[in-house]
Amino acid sequence: MLEIAELETRHVGPISMNVSGGECVAILGPSGSGKSLLLRAIADLDPNAGRVALNGQIREEMPACEWRRKVAFVPAETGWWADRVSDHFADTDDVGDLLAAMKLSDAMEWEVSRLSTGERHRLGIVRALQTKPRALLLDEPTASLDGDMTTAVEELIRHLLAGDVSVLIVTHDEEQARRIAGRSMRMSDGQLTPEAGAAS
């Protein structure tokens, strides 16, 4: 379970919420309301205050590097630092199944500069799953994907949920929230409220 208590960062919070293992929570809300900042704060990428824990282990009691391997974050804009796709993966054999699921089996040979936005995003998700995280933070994971690929990503999320991973997903797509999330929250001016009339 991912526990967040009184989390505050620039323009956002205090926010308290829990995401159980195997649960997917969607965060909806207008652009600029602080959805991405919330995910960044949970991943400890920006200075923040409050208590964040995974399965009872408090974030500050482990090195930041270990935390980010357990709580993986895929930002809306994926970052790349080398020329070849394979240089961004620790072990390319390890992710064969994930690449196949994302229809990217040949991608390791490709040049980063020639990737489309959608390919970058799918590769970003595969890359984040290399460390076998127990919680996954996704920032608009399907914003640049077509229908088939969106379905593939949602399938992958369901597969992770079946493996007891906690998933927190920022999306603009309310239909998507209904499809994969057990419950939805709405972000407005840095404050998070349960979505009225949400399913379940």
Partner: protein, 268 residues
């Protein structure tokens, strides 16, 4: 061996003929360069005359405190130059003190070591030796440090998403920033590496030229020049390393985050 030939003021006027000729060309060809030529030329004359007077006085007084004071003034100006040459720099006091501090640290250690062990004037801080030596070392360290910091800061700013992507995979701040650090160190080291490689082939270094013109045996002048190049190279390297690693440390934190909020773009 030739001896030192003193220059008269008339000699200087004579030497300025070609520069004046350039100004005339500028007027005739309407290049609008004559004003700039004139003002920078006057600035050079005034600055050098004043430095000549100051050095003459300092050498005459030959006091450790006055020598130290002059060295400190040189550091303040060079530090300000490092600060001004960066497109993006650390905010607050760090913006000035990290560059100036690394340069001061490296320049002072190297100068003092050279004076105390190799050149050995009596006393070791004798201003005729200490100040020109310190000036040459400081000037080169200043160039290296400002290039290194400027490259580091613009690289971290540009590569932010790539650096954060590495942090998100569980890499440390040092690992994630390593490509930017390497680029910055290389950029800081390049001028001195190029200078060492080209020296003597393309041009005779200024100090060596000066010694030869004042009647020193070329082989003696060469020895001095090699010593100076070693000192300059050593100090530049130390200064660049200190400044770049200090800045990486400042622009990241113990939770392995990139802290761009501690950096500011040049406002002008």
């Amino acid at each position: 061996m030739t001896t030192y030939i003193s220059l008269s003021n008339l000699d200087l006027v004579g030497a300025s003929v070609f520069l004046v000729l350039n100004a005339v060309f500028s007027l005739v060809l309407k290049l609008n360069l004559e004003r700039q030529l004139l003002t920078s030329c006057l600035r050079m004359i005034v600055q050098l005359l004043m430095v000549g007077l100051v050095l003459k006085a300092v050498f005459a007084v030959s006091s450790a405190i006055v020598t130290l004071l002059i060295a400190m003034i040189m550091i303040v100006f060079a530090g300000r130059e490092i600060w001004a040459r960066q497109e993006r720099r650390l905010s607050g006091m760090w913006g000035y003190s990290l560059g100036a501090g690394s340069m001061m640290f490296a320049g002072t250690i190297v100068t003092v070591c050279a004076l105390a062990t190799q050149i050995q004037p009596q006393p070791w801080w004798t201003p005729q030796f200490a100040l020109p030596l310190f000036g040459m070392i400081l000037g080169n360290t200043m160039t290296g440090v400002s290039l290194g910091l400027d490259t580091l800061h613009s690289s971290i700013f540009r590569e932010r998403t790539g650096i954060e992507a590495q942090l998100l995979l569980g890499r440390t701040r040092w690992e994630a920033v390593l490509p930017s650090t390497r680029r910055a160190l290389r950029s800081g080291f390049t001028p001195i590496i190029n200078a060492m490689a080209a020296t003597g082939v393309v041009s005779l270094p200024g100090m060596m030229t000066g010694q030869i013109l004042s009647g020193v045996d070329p082989q003696e002048a060469v020895k001095y020049q090699i010593l100076i190049m070693f000192l300059i190279g050593g100090a530049t390297g130390l200064g660049v390393l200190g400044a770049v690693f200090g800045s990486v440390w400042r622009l990241t934190d113990h939770r392995h985050r990139i802290r761009l909020d501690r950096m500011r773009a040049r406002s002008t």
